[in-house]
């Protein structure tokens, strides 16, 4: 029982650390900064708990009883945290914020959540190990007891990390995993705590009651327009939510949601809106001067629910085509509307860069729309080496197109966007950025081997029926072709995370 208690304390502490980030994600996101807050606070709570636990172990007459009491209280605190944190987060964040406004609150919000709701149970759990060492050292001696307790705690921590990610979140979901751990802690605590008051026996029933209460995160940070929440899913990567608006528009959102979407579909329309519509330009650029006989081949990296497909196909027109869509999270593909393109579109779940190695070397188009944790471009998809790999998979005249944030485009100083674009420019012969109307995004087009067609020729090349906003994005003043050349991001030297974090911490607009 002593070793199991050590195992359980280690398991629970690390599970709380991982689950905590997923739990606050619907309100505060799960960016690198949120992870740092959570890890930092949990480590601090563990240090504090170990120190206080050591003091108690030295003075307490019955360490077994004390460890039972501590486990019991930690379970109770965890259950209360899982119940009250959503109420706190709803109160903390005002309604109807835009993502760029809300982002300035995520750092304080996630730090406060970690301190008030996750640090207390972990602090209690960290008190357990010194108490158990004290208890076991009577028979085994201090060194052996410490070694055994430490080993069991570490094995528990190991399983806490893997079990949570691969079993707890996909099977039980984040919230129910937290209540499950709380339930287990209370039960084991009661077993060890021999002189417990009789009222404490009702605690497991209370936790079971809380387990079945409604999940407030379902409707957290909803965008304006009173959408209906259709589906919610926790995955090892993120929290996903699908919404349906009155006009039939369908959104897939990840983590904190707010006014941003991961994918969008509009019923009976080719044009999802926003930056997706500008993807129509990519095949138009690629087909200028291309031999028209072979089928048009393209890959979309960060396929999501396939919002880019219709605008791309509008640009391809009547040409035969085949495509591969790569999406990191398999659950995204599962929640997406069923593909209507049959075997011409192959969907694959996995990492974009790893899978690109298997792409043919004569693609006409590679599209990148991959963001991890809402507005962080994955580091390995922003380097000169990655862009060089993309270049190697394109045919002559082929196009690389990417959706990017424009927040630092006009910065007089060096910015992460300048560094990223310098990496693209290192391989590609010509690049062009189109500002997206009504948006904080730009769409990058880079062409292999040939210059991009002149903007004036788009009057002739654009098919009929393309939304007027795409025309607006093609006006010379909306296009950027010259950006400062600075040191590109490299696989071995990539400060992108630091740049994006400082932009966020400085109240910048991600």
């Amino acid at each position: 029982m002593i070793l199991f208690a050590a195992f359980l304390a280690g398991f629970s502490a690390l599970a709380i650390e991982v689950l905590g980030v997923h739990f606050v994600a619907p309100w505060f996101g799960a960016s690198s900064l949120v992870w740092s807050n959570q890890i930092g606070v949990i480590l601090f709570a563990m240090a504090l708990g170990a120190a206080i636990g050591g003091r108690v172990a030295k003075k307490h007459s019955n360490p077994a009883l004390a460890s039972g009491l501590v486990l019991f209280v930690s379970g109770l605190l965890l259950a209360f945290s899982a119940f009250f944190l959503p109420l706190f987060a709803d109160w903390f964040l005002p309604d109807a914020l835009r993502l760029d406004e809300a982002a300035t609150l995520f750092l304080g919000g996630s730090l406060t959540s970690a301190l008030f709701f996750f640090a207390p149970p972990v602090f209690m759990l960290a008190m357990v190990a010194p108490l158990l060492v004290e208890l076991r050292s009577v028979e085994r001696g201090a060194g052996r007891a410490a070694g055994e307790i430490s080993a069991m705690g570490t094995v528990g921590s190991l399983l806490g990390v893997f079990g949570t990610t691969f079993l707890g979140i996909p099977v039980l979901g984040v919230r129910h995993s937290l209540f499950g751990i709380a339930f287990l802690l209370v039960l084991v605590g009661l077993l060890l705590w021999r002189t417990k008051p009789s009222i404490s026996k009702f605690t497991p029933v209370l936790i079971l009651f809380l387990f079945w209460t409604p999940d407030l995160s379902v409707s957290a940070n909803l965008p304006p327009g009173n959408p209906v929440v259709e589906q919610v899913a926790d995955t090892p990567y993120q929290r996903l939510r699908t919404l349906r608006f009155d006009d039939g528009t369908w959104w897939l959102q990840m983590n904190e949601g707010v006014d941003s979407f991961q994918s969008i579909h509009k019923p009976d329309s080719t044009w999802p809106g926003s930056y997706y519509d500008l993807f129509v330009l990519a095949p138009i650029y690629a087909m200028e001067g291309r031999d028209g006989s072979a089928p048009f081949q393209f890959w979309t990296l960060g396929h999501g629910a396939g919002s880019a497909m219709e605008p791309l196909l509008a640009g391809i027109g009547t040409q035969d085509w085949s495509a591969v869509g790569v999406e990191l999270d398999p659950k995204v593909l599962e929640l997406s509307p069923k593909s209507k393109w049959g075997s011409r579109l192959q969907l694959v779940a996995g990492d974009a860069r790893s899978l690109l190695r298997y792409a043919p070397k004569n693609l006409d188009l590679v599209l990148l729309d991959a963001y991890s944790r809402q507005f962080e471009i994955p580091l390995h998809l922003a380097t000169q080496e990655f862009f060089s790999e993309v270049y190697g998979h394109l045919s002559d005249g082929g196009i690389f197109v990417a959706n990017l944030s424009s927040s630092t485009l006009e910065e007089p100083n060096q910015s992460w966007l300048h560094a990223l674009l310098s990496g693209v420019r290192h391989s590609f012969e010509d690049i062009r950025l189109h500002r997206v109307p009504f948006s904080r995004n730009v769409v990058l087009f880079a062409r292999k081997g040939r210059p991009l067609p002149e903007l004036e020729t788009l009057v002739r090349l654009l098919p009929s029926g393309v939304p007027v906003e795409v025309g607006a994005a093609c006006l010379p003043s909306q296009v950027v072709e010259q950006v400062p050349e600075i040191s590109p991001l490299r696989d071995y030297l990539n400060p992108l995370a630091l740049w994006q974090a400082s932009e966020w911490l400085g109240g910048g607009r991600p």
Partner: protein
């Protein structure tokens, strides 16, 4: 007050597609103030704010001091979240000076509504930012208190 104001901003976007828009827009004469005003209007409605800003400056070069040109710039700034506060302050003083007599009454009402929504949102955001600054410190204090109380509570169970 220029007759252009209601014409520029009260009208809805005519039905056309990207190619037609581009063709028509690129054909506007750069030396004609009315053409620059039309250029501003179509770019602003289509969300091409860099283009609209160029048009507004071109309009003001051709008609120095025309309040409509100034209004164009204020309207654009109010659409930029980064300069929204300042732009709305300017918009308020602009409305005080010209708004009551403006022929584009609809636009004036819209600007006033936008201003109100912006100010309400700013107030909410400032309150939330104050929470985000102060609550982590309270959380740390709470954890310290918990450590002290945890120690006392567990020791009391010892019965010593």
């Amino acid at each position: 007050m220029s007759i252009l104001l209601p014409f520029l901003l009260a009208f809805a976007m005519p039905q056309q597609d990207a190619a037609a828009f581009l063709k028509q827009h690129l054909a506007l004469a750069p030396t004609n103030a009315e053409a620059q005003a039309v250029r501003f209007r179509s770019a602003a409605i289509a969300g091409a704010y860099s283009e609209a800003r160029e048009a507004a400056h071109a309009f003001l070069e051709l008609r120095p001091g025309d309040p409509v040109g100034k209004h164009f710039l204020i309207w654009l700034d109010s659409r930029n979240p980064a300069s929204g506060g300042l732009a709305f302050q300017e918009a308020t003083s602009w409305l005080a000076e010209y708004g009551e007599d403006a022929q584009g009454a609809q636009e004036v009402i819209q600007l006033r509504n936008d201003l109100q929504v912006f100010l309400q949102q700013e107030e909410l955001l400032q309150k939330a930012e104050a929470k985000a600054r102060t609550f982590p410190a309270l959380g740390l204090l709470f954890l310290g208190l918990l450590a002290w109380a945890g120690n006392r509570f567990v020791m009391r169970s010892s019965g010593d």
